[in-house]
């Protein structure tokens, strides 16, 4: 340890210690940060019993009717739930968007308020009472099947249909009118599929004519694969936000370190001047 002892009082030592501490913390964080992949398979509402419907109705009247109305017709500018279907309800409630806390702004993704079972009951109730809507085809279970989606196809379709709002790796982006396309870092394959067919908020609907189920699975596989990919070329991916964050880092970290070195090199001379 002589080596260390000799250099402990070196003027740069303080910076070095801070630097290595920062690197260590960063690495730890990268390793330990909560991983968003909680693949939750959800059963379709097909097997809903009378009991489920009753439970769904109770939940709906309690938590949703204040805005969407007892009859699901919507009121005071709140959207009607007529014909939205089970997939839309599952998407909205399982991503924590509904029940909304503030109907005037776009709801961000939050932990869901209800359990899976309750969500299924709600979805069953809304689709049977107010009319069904677009659903995930019975033959497709996104959480299982996305892996057979064609990534190459998905990449192309994603770039030409989704990237303009959600950015090239699904980091999201701003839209007009205070709306924003959210990050796709946490959506489960099923939620992605549901978002595509229900077109939440400002997002367009991508029905089977616009994008075939094959293309949808391809997109999902692309999203899931790319976001799970380890970052080639560095511990830090700078938010995958593109050149803006890179410029910021060049000015802060890069120029910062270099100017510090310049000060150090010239300051040493000063003492002996």
């Amino acid at each position: 340890m002589n080596w260390i002892t000799a250099r402990r009082r070196h003027p740069l030592m303080g910076y070095a210690v801070v630097f290595f501490a920062l690197v260590a913390i960063g690495t730890l964080w990268a390793v330990l940060a909560p991983n968003a992949d909680r693949a939750e398979a959800r059963t379709q509402e097909a097997g809903a019993t009378q009991q489920d419907l009753a439970a769904g109705q109770a939940l709906f009247e309690q938590s949703c009717s204040s805005c969407h109305g007892i009859d699901g017709q919507g009121r005071n500018g709140m959207p009607s739930l007529q014909g939205v279907g089970a997939a839309a309800v599952d998407f909205q409630v399982s991503t924590g968007r509904m029940p909304s806390m503030n109907p005037d702004v776009q709801m961000p993704r939050k932990p869901p308020v209800f359990t899976e079972e309750q969500i299924d009951q709600l979805a069953a109730y809304v689709s049977t009472s107010f009319g069904g809507g677009p659903e995930i085809p019975a033959s497709v279970d996104p959480d299982e099947d996305y892996a057979r989606g064609d990534i190459e196809l998905g990449q192309r379709v994603f770039m030409s249909n989704c990237a303009q709002c959600h950015n090239f790796v699904g980091q999201g982006g701003a839209l007009t009118g205070g709306r924003f396309a959210p990050e796709l870092t946490e959506s489960t394959p099923e939620q992605i599929y549901e978002a595509l067919i229900s077109g939440p908020g400002a997002m367009p609907v991508f029905d089977d004519e616009t994008l075939t189920p094959e293309e949808k699975l391809g997109i999902i596989n692309y999203i899931v694969t790319v976001r799970a990919e380890p970052d080639s070329g560095g511990l830090f991916n700078l938010g995958r936000l593109g050149p803006s964050s890179e410029g910021l880092v060049a000015w802060t970290v890069g120029i910062g370190l270099i100017v510090a070195a310049a000060m150090w090199i010239t300051a040493r001379q000063r003492e002996n001047d």
């Binding site: 690197v23 190459e152 982006g173 701003a174 060049a250 890069g254 002996n272 001047d273």
Partner: protein, 557 residues
């Protein structure tokens, strides 16, 4: 102590050997004793130089594998999500460098980080030169060379960014095409010429490649050489201080001390760049996918040095009047060509403009302290503010997303701050400079606050002021009185006739500009009672210690 440092014997002998053969009239030995002043801000030019070298070296490595071709190929490399995707050879080879060439990704990342640091360092260096007035006579031409280098560096970066033909670079090329098209009359011919046909065509990438790796680096290398040579010949400016005069340079002799420092500093710059390249991912082209004209991504930004142009494009309102039945796309033309054009013309002409305004034809070898030239400093900060607002506006979508502000609202905020911000910056900076001058004056006359508090017998507490040291006094005193020039004062000659130069409209304008430029003054001598200490220190002359004093520039001119 103040003797010039003599190079070690072996080197001296080498110098003599070469001089005898190349008839340098002991040129080499003189040059080894050249002096470089010590201040961190004088190293910024070096940072630019070193990162330029790094960019060149890594760039050569990349050309070994990069294929500037727009031929469609199927990707078969080892990056799985793109396997089977059709793409240009350029993009495929950039992916190949990233995933299949040993060290390729690291070198690509060093190249890109070094390019960012290069331009950032140029900007910092330029600010240093500006705020210290180092562009004044006799260094105006070097300022011009420098500004040309800045523009070339930006273009060079933009072209490099466009080469890999990924989605983001394609968006950049598309933008260039749009700007070319917007030029009145020749627009569509210009774009047909550039792209050798319709957009995107087959020719643009090979052409950009030639310009990026051959033409521009060649020109830049020559200009950098001239730039540094001129610094060498004219010698470096220095901050005012004891023993420093207009006719000497105090600092570290070129050999050995400065050479060692400069060498070490090169490795610092290289080391930090390499460190960043290994820790921070940059331009992950594989995530963007190949360019297709139908796709565009949210958050498509250019590298930061083009950001101000992107910002001005985003802020400028839609405005396309019909001229003789042809739409004139002012909403592209003005923000993309006119605004940068004005910005850079002003930048290049500034040394000449300032000389014209102040009528100052003296040689300057000591650097101004920014506070001592309040109007210039304020103008500089004004420019930086304007540029900064444009730069931020170029990322307004990210700002809107991160801070939950409506996108249109950010546009309006930026439009207003683009006009109000610089004005406020000007006023505030000028005030701050004057305040600092006043503080300097007080310190000079009453000493500095020592932090020692004394209680007087009367019970009153006072803080003891101590006279500033000789070194500091010289620095504080360094404010060169701006001479009252005829053009400014509207002086009359001995017959009472006003100088004819002040009567023409241009002369009046010049007088007004000049009065404005030098209006605010803090008079250092207003109650000066023989504080001779500062001057005495200067006359003592030569710096002490290891500092060497080389012959001054004045004996050359």
């Amino acid at each position: 102590m103040s003797q010039p440092t003599t190079p070690p014997k072996a080197l001296g002998a080498l110098g003599t050997y070469l001089d005898e053969r190349f008839h340098g009239s002991s040129m080499l030995r003189t040059n080894m004793r050249k002096v470089f002043p010590n201040h961190w801000s004088f190293m910024l030019g070096e940072v630019a130089l070193y990162s330029f070298i790094i960019v060149l070296l890594t760039g050569v490595f990349l050309t070994l594998w990069f294929r500037p071709s727009m031929l469609e190929v199927e990707y078969t490399g080892s990056y799985a999500p793109l396997q089977g995707v059709m793409m240009s050879e350029a993009y495929a080879s950039a992916l190949h460098i990233s995933f299949d060439v040993r060290g390729g990704l690291l070198v690509r990342q060093i190249h890109h980080w070094a390019a960012l640091i290069f331009v950032a360092a140029i900007l910092m260096h330029m600010m240093r030169v500006f705020f210290t007035g180092a562009f004044r006579k006799p260094r105006e031409l070097n300022w011009l060379i420098g500004a040309t280098l800045l523009i070339l560096a930006m273009v060079e970066g933009l072209l490099g960014y466009s080469l890999p033909d990924d989605l983001l670079s394609g968006v950049g090329i598309r933008l260039m095409q749009g700007v070319a098209l917007a030029v009145p009359v020749i627009g569509s011919y210009a774009q047909m010429f550039l792209f050798d046909g319709e957009f995107p065509g087959e020719a643009i990438i090979p052409r950009l490649f030639t310009v990026h790796v051959l033409l521009l680096p060649g020109i830049m290398l020559a200009l950098v050489g001239a730039h540094v040579l001129i610094v060498w010949i004219q010698k470096h400016t220095q901050y005012p201080g004891r023993g420093r005069t207009e006719s000497n340079v105090v600092g570290t002799p070129m050999y050995p001390a400065f050479a060692v420092k400069a060498g070490a500093f090169f490795f610092f710059v290289f080391g930090f760049t390499a460190l960043m390249a290994s820790v921070f991912q940059i331009n992950p082209i594989w995530l963007f996918g190949p360019y297709t004209p139908t796709s565009i991504s949210a958050g498509s930004q250019p590298d930061f040095y083009i950001g101000f142009m992107e910002g001005s494009l985003r802020l400028f309102p839609q405005w396309e009047p019909l001229i003789f039945g042809h739409p004139l796309s002012l909403s592209t033309l003005i923000p993309a060509l006119v605004i940068p054009g004005i910005l850079f013309t002003a930048l290049m002409l500034w040394p000449f403009l300032e000389a014209w305004i102040t009528g100052d034809k003296r040689q300057h070898h000591t650097a101004d302290r920014p506070r001592n030239a309040p109007t210039r400093t304020a103008l500089g900060v004004t420019g930086i503010t304007f540029y900064g607002v444009l730069l931020l506006a170029g990322a307004n979508d990210l700002i809107s997303e991160i801070f939950y502000i409506d996108l249109y609202l950010t546009t309006w905020i930026f439009r207003v701050s683009l006009i109000v911000g610089p004005i406020i910056a000007f006023i505030v900076t000028r005030r701050v400079c004057l305040g600092l001058q006043r503080r300097d004056r007080d310190e000079l006359h009453h000493g500095y606050e020592s932090g020692i508090v004394k209680q007087l017998p009367s019970g009153e507490f006072i803080e003891v002021h101590q006279p500033v040291g000789a070194d500091a006094a010289v620095e504080l005193r360094s404010k060169v009185a701006s001479e009252p020039l005829e053009i400014r004062t509207g002086a009359v000659d001995e017959n009472g006739v006003p100088d004819p130069r002040t009567r023409s409209p241009l002369g009046k304008l010049r007088g007004a500009a000049s009065r404005w430029f030098t209006r605010d003054k803090v008079d250092f001598d207003e109650h000066d009672g023989g504080h001779g200490d500062g001057h005495a220190a200067v006359e003592e002359g030569a710096g002490s210690g290891r500092a060497a004093v080389s012959s001054g520039p004045s004996d050359k001119h």
